[in-house]
């Protein structure tokens, strides 16, 4: 048996949703096999099955030709499978050495053998060129370093199959180069590597073979020899377009939102948006397209007053609104359909009437001075529920009792009811079914035609292409290109993955 790992016909369902549909995947020793696909294509689910986090509904896993069942990460580790998680599983306050040896500590009598731990770490790090300081605390070292610690931990535990889940998503270009050198060394040593990514250029650079997943199905497995970014992008996105929105051509008018040289930090204080500028005019939908984690969330939060701006200005209708806070933004005409309706967009334990009042509960529309007007809140809710066809509850139902699509309608109703000049829609169809998606799309188009400027942040190719009048591509916190909506999938895909950077420099 020449394969280190074989996955045969893996099917994993979550309720009615098929996350993996009879997927085949195999890996030879000393090979880098990339797993490529859009967000939601089923990559992480497949690897969670491999790592014992999910039990597959159907299919077989073979390691070194032997059929195995993997019920826990521990069993995966024992089979020589190591995982480098996208969100590192490291204890921040502990040292590098402690994190690496955790749960398989060398001992001297009953005590931890600290010197032996450090020696093992040094030995491994020299062997694969993974320079780390065993005494440093994990919270004090860079993200790139932390990733090395994760890799070292897998190697320390004898991994011969290493799964890297979007390893470059958090790295700088230099760090990514360093990582690739390490992977070459591991390859030479006979370790098989599964490389999960949606960055085409990287896949071409590091992988030997590529398996493309789309909507839970394996589309194809091809050698990278002879493959191009275009050919991979075509496989990844597919040809058929399921959703087409009928819309008249846009008639853009005056600029309503002007963002200039915006710089914003992420939660850890690292730069996330680096000097982005953009303009949105009344009566157009501008999509902010990009792969997750390239600063689009931070940009949206800054524009809607939820995240402090480091430098740069945000103007709405000519007025400078930088640093005016969430309420200030709403008051001046920027509404926000939040990315995560459970975490931010809704108070799930509030009634629909209360949720619909979240923006304007303290304005004369809904209160008499200090007292809420429950009647007006209810009446307005009833009107909005009818207008937006919210089903499954009335003004006094709790938001958590609604389905996701109807919850989203509540958010949209509230945000449009503020009569904004600019509507920021962040992933407005995330997690919705087809009918609800269609509703959201139609509504966004009709609001555009009513003269609002719409900033659409989306991770879905199709949504961006079918809704937008202009497409701005964000990559590593910078706006790297502008495209018309009829841009080819390949071209868009390449720009979003940092490929066509030079070509589009003029735009």
């Amino acid at each position: 048996m020449e394969y280190a790992l074989e996955l045969r016909g893996i099917t994993k369902r979550f309720g009615p949703i098929v996350a993996n549909d009879a997927v085949d995947f195999d890996l030879k020793p000393g090979e880098v096999h990339a797993l490529l696909g859009e967000n939601g294509a089923g990559k992480s689910t497949l690897m969670s099955v491999l790592y014992g986090l999910y039990t597959p509904d159907e299919g077989e896993i073979r390691v070194d030709g032997r059929p195995v069942t993997i019920n826990s990460p521990l069993e995966a580790i024992d089979l020589g499978i190591g995982m480098v998680h996208q969100h590192f599983m490291l204890v921040p306050v502990m040292t590098v050495a402690e994190n690496i040896v955790l749960a398989q500590e060398p001992t001297k009598g009953a005590l931890l053998d600290v010197d032996a731990s450090k020696a093992r770490v040094r030995e491994l790090s020299e062997r694969y060129g993974l320079a780390v300081n065993p005494d440093a605390r994990v919270e004090d070292i860079t993200v790139g370093m932390q990733q090395r610690v994760e890799i070292l931990r897998a190697l320390y535990r004898g991994a011969r199959i290493l799964v890297l889940d979007e390893p470059t998503a958090v790295l700088t270009a230099q760090e990514a180069n360093d990582l690739f050198r390490v992977l070459e060394a591991l390859k030479a040593d006979g370790t098989g590597i599964v490389f999960i990514s949606h960055k085409l250029n990287e896949v071409l650079e590091i992988a030997d073979r590529v398996t493309v997943l789309r909507r839970g199905k394996r589309i194809d497995t091809v050698p990278t020899q002879g493959a191009t970014e275009e050919s991979l992008a075509r496989l990844m996105v597919g040809r058929e377009v399921l959703l087409r929105v009928e819309k008249p051509p846009a008639q853009p008018k005056e600029a309503v939102l002007e963002v200039t040289d915006l710089e914003v930090s992420d939660d850890r204080g690292l730069p996330a948006v680096r000097g982005a500028s953009l303009t949105i005019r009344a009566g157009e939908i501008v999509a902010l397209a990009g792969v997750d984690g390239n600063g689009q969330s931070e940009l949206v939060e800054a524009v809607t007053g939820l995240r402090p701006v480091q430098t740069g200005t945000i103007r709405v209708g000519g007025t400078d609104l930088t640093d005016s806070g969430a309420r200030g933004m709403v008051r001046h005409g920027v509404s926000h359909i939040a990315e995560d309706r459970h975490r931010r967009g809704l108070v799930l334990n509030f009634t629909l009437a209360e949720n619909l009042a979240l923006r304007e509960y303290n304005t004369p529309k809904l209160s008499n001075g200090w007292l809420l007007s429950l009647k007006r809140m209810r009446d307005r809710a009833r009107g909005l529920i009818r207008e937006y066809d919210v089903r499954g509850g009335g003004p006094s139902s709790l938001a958590l009792s609604l389905s996701g699509g109807n919850q989203q309608k509540v958010v949209i109703a509230r945000e449009i009811a503020c009569n904004p000049r600019v509507l920021v829609a962040a992933q407005p169809t995330r997690g919705l079914d087809v009918g609800a998606i269609e509703f959201v799309h139609r509504r966004l188009v009709s609001e555009r035609d009513a003269g609002r400027g719409i900033l659409l942040m989306s991770l879905e190719f199709e949504e961006v292409r079918s809704l937008a009048d202009r497409i701005l591509v964000i990559y590593e916190g910078e706006i790297v290109g502008e495209f018309p909506p009829d841009v080819s999938e390949e071209e868009l895909g390449i720009a979003m993955t940092g490929g066509g950077r030079q070509r589009e420099a003029a735009a």
């Binding site: 009615p16 949703i17 996350a19 108070v347 799930l348 334990n349 509030f350 209360e354 699509g405 919705l432």
Partner: protein
């Protein structure tokens, strides 16, 4: 991370909800209380009393006659029309006792409940109650020449503000540096206790000025004009004072602010989901401070009314004894059993008020059950109530999970992405 809400039909988003939603444990509790209905608290109380009954049984007493004696001791038998004659007179006296104790229980219950509704856990009711009392006793025993009504109002306002300021320290620390309110309110409780032990100690700044009492560590008595009028029973025998109306008014204020005002809207939004509140433009830190101060005002008012209504003076021993199992701690059980609602708090306060006065030396028939034992039985029941409430989150989770699974089965197949991270 996941006593959180179930994902709704139509999506597969396990983890996103968990991150950041209902971070504070108190917020999580508060979130669940809405769904419980009246059944869960009733079952909680029944279960606690049942286990208490087992304890009585195991130690060789008759639970039924004991509970009956406690019931009669609480004076609640007064409501039965067939109770008459001297029995009725005793019942009236007992019921006055019960209601006197119910007053601070309602208010300390509100002090915990209001915080819970904002996602905070106020364990500092004791300290706020004590500080309110210190100020009330100082004001009430000074200014002897003031007109009675003015004097009472002055004392009440001062005591209430004192409690508010004391709790405000914890609120300020939470709002500015994020200090956990549980730790800071516990510390403030004990600081208040020792402060009292200092104020009224021998030669302490507020020790009494009566020449014949110089060896007693006790405060001056409230002057006659500052005492709350008694409207039911004999003022000499601790009749029921008008504080009960003030407490009930506080309940109305609590309900009105929470459910009818823009402030209450903000408080509840912060309590359920601080991140969504921030998104809605609400100043979360300010709400933390404000809510703690209001809670302190409720508890401070409780201390004030007790002083002006029936205690009239503070001894250092009372202060030190209150530190473990004092009246103010019952506010936690009252609020949790009352589901942090206005009406629930009143009913739970009455229940614990009846239990406390029904087991007191003065009211319980010692031939049936020793009052000292019964007092400890009260602590056991209080502990069980709080313990069961702490875990009924899980009962409700299971209820809800069952319900949403049923829903999911009947929902139309949603085409959503299934990338679980």
């Amino acid at each position: 991370m996941s006593t959180e809400l179930e994902p709704q039909p139509g999506e597969v988003e396990g983890e996103e909800i968990a991150e950041g939603y209902a971070q504070t444990p108190a917020a999580r509790l508060a979130a669940y209380f809405d769904g419980g209905g009246v059944l869960v608290p009733v079952l909680t109380a029944v279960l606690a009393f049942f286990v208490g009954g087992l304890v009585i049984l195991i130690t060789g007493h008759n639970p039924l006659s004991t509970y009956k004696a406690i019931f009669n001791g609480s004076g609640l038998n007064w409501i039965f029309p067939w109770v008459s004659g001297s029995e009725r007179t005793t019942a009236a006296l007992n019921l006055q006792q019960t209601l006197i104790i119910t007053v601070p229980l309602i208010l300390t219950g509100l002090a915990v409940a209001f915080a819970f509704r904002c996602g905070l856990f106020n364990i500092g009711g004791l300290g706020q109650y004590l500080v309110g009392g210190y100020i009330a006793v100082w004001v009430g025993s000074s200014f002897a020449g003031m007109p009675s009504v003015l004097h009472i109002i002055f004392a009440i306002v001062a005591g209430t503000l004192g409690g508010a300021a004391w709790a405000g320290i914890a609120g300020l620390l939470k709002a500015t540096v994020g200090a956990h309110e549980v730790i800071s309110t516990i510390m403030l409780n004990w600081i208040a206790v020792w402060l009292g032990a200092y104020l009224f100690a021998l030669n302490g700044p507020l020790q009494n000025t009566d020449p014949s009492q110089q060896s007693v560590p006790i405060s001056n008595d409230i002057v006659a004009g500052a005492k709350l009028p008694v409207f039911w029973g004999d003022p000499e025998l601790q009749g029921l004072h008008i504080g009960i109306f003030i407490a009930l008014a506080a309940v109305v204020v609590f309900w009105l602010v929470l459910n009818r005002s823009t402030t209450g809207y903000e408080v509840r939004a912060v309590g359920f989901n601080p991140e969504a509140a921030r998104y809605g433009g609400i100043n979360v830190s300010w709400n933390y401070f404000l809510v703690m101060a209001v809670c302190g005002a409720f508890a401070g008012l409780a201390g004030t009314l007790d002083l002006l209504g029936w205690q009239f003076h503070i001894a250092t021993n009372d202060v030190l004894n209150s530190a473990s199992g004092g009246l103010a701690f019952f506010g936690i059980a009252v609020a949790l059993l009352g589901r942090n609602t206005a009406s629930g708090t009143v009913i739970a306060a009455l229940l614990f008020g009846a239990l406390l006065s029904g087991t007191s030396q003065r009211n319980l028939d010692p031939n049936i059950f020793e009052p000292e034992l019964a007092g400890n039985l009260t602590f056991i029941i209080q502990g069980l109530v709080v313990l069961i409430v702490s875990a009924d989150v899980i009962v409700l989770t299971m209820l809800r999970r069952g319900r949403s699974m049923f829903k999911r089965r009947s929902a139309t197949a949603p085409a959503a992405k299934a990338e679980a991270s």
